[in-house]
């Protein structure tokens, strides 16, 4: 019987042939030419990004409800590249985002638009990236808290906007913003963990909604949110690690879902899961030990057998009953993001760090500035932000503690490729996060 390749196979082979074409050409080049190709063209990226900050063509009308996102993608990219923007431009950013801030709290997609959780996340992270007292104090934290409360659904999860959709993205953006501004409390946290837990699928990754397919973006959001609310031990972490480890493909980059194509943006959404895992190793190994114990104790394994579908989480059920972790300590939400990044990584990366760096630099980078999804696609600010974020994750992943510098061997290409380090839970440059925390932790 003749076997006809399926759509998935055909598309995958096409991408592989393009990517391997690039890698094969690269291999045949003289060393000097290779060095040139491995360079992050910082000046070109900066030019592309600052131009975007100053003016966008009419084709951006379709992103008119995402302007704080455009700010964040551009400003965070510049910050990762170690580029500073001039004082006037900083003022302009703060002034513009203030016009997106709703009088009743939260930020909308542009001036006069309804507040929305995703653009609130983007605006807050932009403001923290700009930094300085004037910028930070432009955020109305009390009103923002009220907005978050209004977005909280009785189920525990969050809506994106008034009467808007509920999903894991909403949970993450709400929790991330509240955490970084030090306004996270038990009222906001209540039951959000249950919702995220119900989105972990049989594959191990996390979906946008209960029942949907495990997906890179939602997996990062779900995992980061669970860490920020002190409930990460409730997830089936060994399954999650297994799923995400399998998302790295032969191209070196990550795919967003099983049997989908590689895409540069998952360098962060999937790649960014690994620095989190590294710091959770003790929880993961604890879960594995329990599997080991239970195995020898089959008769008394009443806890996990035949749980109804909805209560699922055989592991979490077990862990909760055994009380392996104290119940979330309400008073300590404000330190979670800070303590987490200070935690030492107990192990090296559980993915192929250099293969990912190679994909980002050789396949996603555009020599005229900017990054793209994959060869054949065009650049955009979103992919530029998440390719650079993923690259930064790679460069710092072998450091045992935050606040030291990677050695040259960790950085693919010239050492000048070294980017700034990003906070693995909020995705803002670490040093900007510290400055903001100095202010917010006293409020």
């Amino acid at each position: 019987m003749e076997v006809i390749p399926t759509v998935t196979q055909r598309e995958q082979w096409m991408v592989e042939s393009q990517v391997f074409g690039i890698y094969n050409n690269f291999k045949e080049l003289p060393r000097r030419a290779q060095t040139v190709l491995l360079e992050i063209v910082c000046d070109k990226h900066t030019e592309y990004l600052t131009n975007g900050l100053r003016r966008l063509p009419p084709s951006f009308c379709v992103l008119d409800a995402n302007r704080p996102w455009l700010c964040y993608w551009i400003l965070h990219s510049l910050a990762l590249l170690g580029e500073s923007i001039d004082v006037n431009l900083k003022h302009h950013v703060v002034d513009f985002l203030s016009r997106c801030q709703d009088p009743l709290g939260g930020y909308g997609g542009g001036p006069g638009q309804m507040p929305h959780l995703a653009t609130t996340y983007a605006a807050v992270n932009s403001i923290i990236t700009v930094g300085g007292r004037r910028a930070l104090s432009s955020i109305n934290r009390d009103r923002l808290y009220a907005f978050l409360q209004r977005m909280k659904d009785p189920s525990g999860s969050f809506r994106m906007h008034e009467k808007g959709e509920i999903d894991v993205r909403a949970c993450y953006t709400a929790v991330s913003v509240a955490s970084i501004l030090n306004i996270l409390d038990y009222k906001l946290v209540e039951n959000v963990g249950d919702y995220i837990l119900s989105c972990q699928t049989y594959e191990g990754g996390i979906a946008g909604e209960p029942g949907s397919e495990a997906h890179g973006g939602y997996t990062f959001c779900g995992l980061a949110a669970m860490i920020l609310i002190n409930e990460v031990h409730r997830l089936d972490l060994p399954a999650l690690v297994n799923w995400v480890a399998f998302r790295q493909g032969v191209e070196g980059g990550f795919q967003g879902r099983t049997n989908k194509l590689v895409d540069g943006c998952y360098s962060f959404w999937q790649g960014g899961v690994f620095p989190l895992i590294q710091r959770l190793l003790r929880s993961i190994e604890e879960q594995l030990r329990i599997i080991g114990c239970r195995k020898h104790d089959n008769d008394s394994s009443k806890i996990n057998v035949n749980l109804p579908e909805e209560t699922r989480q055989m592991h979490s059920g077990l862990f909760e009953q055994k009380g392996l972790q104290e119940p979330p300590d309400v008073a300590k939400f404000s330190d979670v993001g800070f303590d987490f990044v200070k935690r030492s990584a107990d192990i090296g990366p559980l993915f192929q760090n250099f293969a990912l760096q190679q994909y980002i630099i050789l396949c996603s980078q555009i020599m005229d500035g900017g990054f793209r999804d994959k060869p054949g696609k065009s650049r955009d600010f979103y992919h530029t932000c998440y390719c650079l974020s993923g690259l930064s994750v790679c460069q710092y992943i072998n450091l045992e503690t935050a606040d030291s510098s990677p050695i040259a061997q960790e950085v693919l290409g010239p050492y000048s490729n070294l980017l700034e380090q990003t906070h693995p839970l909020y995705n803002v440059v670490l040093e900007r996060y510290y400055s903001a925390r100095e202010l917010f932790s006293h409020l």
Binding site: L56, F60, Y202, H296, V305, N306, P349
Partner: protein
């Protein structure tokens, strides 16, 4: 209402808008990320802001939101306001379904369209189930992995019903493309949640057979291996004890190629208490590998599997190495 002509006439020249004063966007003197709006876009949004601020729920406002959505389907404020108008006017929601379908044809990957569609279907109730199922089918025929379409379809099934042919739909999509993980995920959804099938316990047996056949045809297909494991999600003991699971591993291993998932499944089985008979060890040892790849001969089978995986799946070398380090706690 048709509108190609109408839309080319600027709003400022349409008599029915003469009484409205457009409200420009408050971008400030030095906006960042300023968009060079087309004249049409700017004017439409200026008039939209006017009716939004005056909270005018009228048919001309409704028409205006159509035009604004046509220019930018991502503007959730416009969609939200549109829903308020539709409610106030008690509008015909079937017409609204046509409107959404036209927008979705141009861009089916946008949260707003699907949220609006859900709102509509909820209002229309169970009678809408069939049309919604067909609508998602149409979108999925263009892109069988459209995440939003699948979420919507699941919501429809859960909320409005329409489960009758869902397993057959999964069959059909998997016949077209056995690597379509979204279809496998939907299959899991149907098997675990359909009120017509009796749940996972009732379905497991036939599903295992179906999946094993898929695995044997394409052993490199990660989706089917993950689905197989998912069938025992709440009953790992049966997973360990079901001879079909372990023997499909053995069968794939004996072909000596494309066996990463067979090895990793066997490893997981052992970690959960499976006692492999000598033939498993023989099959692993028979894999065409360098002696140095498989570690010392004193290793346990689980250790050997980790070493083999490290060698044949170097991209995940760190992961397999870590798995090997965890073995003492698991396999004693």
């Amino acid at each position: 209402m048709d509108s190609d002509d109408e839309q080319t006439i600027p709003l400022s020249q349409r008599p029915e808008w003469a009484d409205v004063k457009p409200v420009p966007q408050d971008d400030g003197p030095n906006p960042v990320v300023p968009i060079a709006y087309t004249d049409e876009f700017r004017e439409t949004m200026d008039y939209f802001r006017a009716v939004y601020l005056s909270d005018e729920h009228s048919s001309r406002s409704l028409q205006l939101t159509s035009e604004a959505i046509n220019l930018n389907a991502g503007n959730y404020t416009v969609w939200h306001f549109r829903r308020l108008i539709l409610e106030s006017l008690n509008a015909d929601l079937h017409e609204e379904l046509d409107f959404v379908e036209n927008i979705a044809k141009k861009n089916s990957k946008n949260y707003q369209i699907w949220h609006h569609r859900r709102w509509l279907a909820e209002k229309l109730g169970p009678d809408a189930a069939f049309r919604e199922i067909e609508f998602t089918k149409k979108i999925l025929s263009l892109d069988a992995k459209n995440y939003h379409a699948w979420s919507h379809r699941q919501w429809v099934l859960k909320t409005l019903g329409g489960w009758e042919d869902e397993l057959e739909y999964c069959n059909q999509l998997l016949r077209d493309d056995i690597f379509n993980n979204s279809a496998w995920n939907q299959r899991h959804f149907v098997v675990t949640r359909s009120p017509l099938l009796g749940g996972l316990d009732a379905m497991r047996d036939s599903e295992v057979d179906y999946t094993i056949e898929a695995i044997i045809t394409y052993p490199e297909n990660e989706s089917s291996w993950r689905y197989l494991r998912g069938l025992y999600k709440n009953d790992l003991k049966s997973w360990v004890n079901d001879p079909r699971v372990s023997s499909v591993c053995l069968k794939i291993l004996s072909t000596k190629t494309r066996c990463i998932f067979a090895l990793s499944t066997l490893l997981d089985l052992i970690c959960h208490g499976f006692q492999p008979s000598p033939e498993y060890e023989e099959a692993v040892n028979a894999l065409p590998l360098q002696r140095s790849d498989v570690g010392p001969s004193s290793s346990s089978l689980a250790e050997t599997i980790c070493s083999v995986l490290e060698a044949i799946d170097p991209l995940r070398g760190n992961y397999w190495n870590w798995r090997k380090e965890q073995l003492p706690a698991l396999v004693t």
